[in-house]
């Protein structure tokens, strides 16, 4: 069950979720007939109604604000994945790995931001988030270079900026 801030606007995020879900339905089906579009509309409304009823919608993130910032963040994340992926490939073929456990501080305020930061750490090859305390992550890194890259705090800053 998602924990929500009491003061976050609910109706706007429900409307944005509706448009995102309908766009997903349209991309996956590709139909343009009005009857089928109507069926898609019904299914999207049904899914939204069920997830509101079961209180599993997350109002923490307002997706409308993220839509502008997210593509820039994803391009940066892909660049980062390729960079650390090449380092990991080099380590695998050479065989000279020296793993490290480090503790990283997260400066994000809400739970969604922390989850996103832990996700980004695990997604870049060579670093895996093992355990999450309140504000510190226990991270397993494959080499010294990768752990120092994480401890410079660039990724932390960018993701904190994303969730403001």
């Amino acid at each position: 069950m998602a924990k929500n801030n009491p003061d976050s606007p609910k109706t706007i995020s429900i409307i944005v979720y509706f448009f995102l879900l309908f766009a997903l339905w349209f991309v996956l089906s590709g139909y343009l007939k009005s009857l089928l579009l109507f069926f898609g509309l019904i299914s999207v409304v049904f899914v939204l109604w069920m997830s509101i009823r079961s209180k599993s919608l997350n109002y923490d993130v307002l997706p409308l604000k993220l839509l502008i910032k997210l593509p820039i963040y994803w391009i940066w994340l892909i660049k980062e994945i390729i960079k650390s992926g090449l380092t990991t490939t080099k380590i695998i073929w050479k065989g000279n790995y020296s793993p490290e456990l480090i503790k990283v501080k997260a400066s994000q305020k809400n739970n969604t931001g922390k989850a996103n930061y832990a996700n980004a750490i695990t997604l870049t090859p060579g670093t895996v988030t093992i355990e999450i305390d309140k504000n510190t992550f226990l991270v397993h890194a494959l080499s010294k270079e990768l752990s120092e890259d994480l401890q410079s705090g660039e990724m932390d800053k960018i993701i904190t900026g994303l969730h403001k």
């Binding site: 994945i81 490939t89 397993h140």
Partner: protein
Amino acid sequence: MEYLIHYSTIFFLFLGCFFILSGSVGLIKLPDVFSRIHAAGLIDTLGTGFIILSLIIHSGFSLLSLKLLLIPLFILFTSPISGHAISLFAHESGYKPKAKLKRK
């Protein structure tokens, strides 16, 4: 133009295959669970990423390429969760990694 599409498809397909191969080699070669997760992550991100990129170039830009773009989007959300689940379970059940904790 057709040659460019053809050869870039082949190039990215080989690049993806190379990353999947090195991830598989890493799965065998690396010593403990925590290091092997890194190799699996390499397959998840760069391997599938480059192969789907080559498929998008091959199919041309249409509704199909949008559908193909949805695959890495879902992998982006699900693959770290499975990696985190494996590592958290290994950590909770008392499996010691070969790495030592660095305090700073």
